[in-house]
């Protein structure tokens, strides 16, 4: 099947509800950094924005707006030790197996096999959507995340939006 046109569908939905048009982020270009070393020697971290929290942390608020919360997720967290609170996508499958959206077991396996160098000490979960404060993200939250990744010598970062 053809890819779903999410933006057009959402524009139509917002209009039908009498909301002002959503101000989509549209970028013309992107920077590109090369990997500094082969994948087999890289330390990799991941990010999910799917409302995923560890069971020993507070759940995400599915109705939140402008929630810039970002949880560090210890790399050894077991796959069954997560809760998902997000009303904007169907996470029934991921509720059963977190690896559907956040393949923490698969990344550990690739590290054990030497396909990647190692899993970084922490992954991240947050930026779960309905964020309308782009300046705060660009000037504060994203640089803070980049700083944490550099502090833990992360070589590459896999982002999984939801």
């Amino acid at each position: 099947m053809e890819p779903i046109q999410y933006a057009a569908r959402l524009n139509e939905f917002y209009r039908s509800q009498g909301f002002p048009p959503y101000n989509w982020t549209i970028n013309e270009g992107a920077p590109l950094m090369r990997l500094a070393k082969p994948l087999g020697r890289c330390r990799i971290a991941m990010l999910t924005s799917g409302g995923v929290s560890r069971k020993d942390a507070a759940p995400f608020n599915p109705q939140a707006r402008n929630d810039l919360r970002l949880d560090p997720i210890d790399r050894e967290t077991p796959a069954h030790f997560f809760a998902i609170n997000d009303d904007y996508y169907n996470h029934a499958d991921a509720d059963r197996d977190i690896n559907c959206i956040f393949p923490i077991d698969r990344l550990r396996e690739l590290a054990a096999e030497g396909v990647i160098g190692e899993v970084a000490p922490h992954h991240y979960s947050g930026f779960m959507g309905r964020i309308y404060v782009r300046t705060a993200v660009m000037n504060e939250a994203a640089p803070a995340l980049a700083r944490k990744l550099r502090e833990e010598s992360v070589d590459a970062f896999v982002l999984v939006p939801a």
Binding site: T25, A94, L110, A146, D155, V158
Partner: protein, 91 residues
């Protein structure tokens, strides 16, 4: 922002048009439902293959803003879920 700070990034996306607008440095697009970017529960081979495709894009992409369409088929039609969150907004 992370890429600009010196760390290569790759996005695993289920929203092709959304990623095309944002243009992350590297995107691998998977034409699966938004809750299944790595596929079906407990299908470890599929999850692993998609994660590997994303990691390989870190090595192979040479142009910022590249989008790689992965060849996987979900196997049945699926629709956008205007979830309870969207319903709540209209209440």
């Amino acid at each position: 922002m992370v890429e600009a700070s010196g760390i290569p990034t790759v996005v695993v996306s289920t929203g092709r048009d959304l990623s095309a607008q944002v243009r992350p440095p590297r995107t691998v697009f998977v034409n699966f439902p938004m809750g299944n970017p790595f596929g079906r529960p407990f299908n470890t081979a599929q999850q692993r293959a998609i994660l590997l495709d994303a990691l390989r894009a870190l090595e192979t992409v040479e142009q910022g803003g590249a989008m790689i369409d992965l060849p996987y088929e979900w196997g049945e039609n699926f629709a956008m879920k205007l979830g309870s969150g969207y319903q709540a907004k209209s209440a």
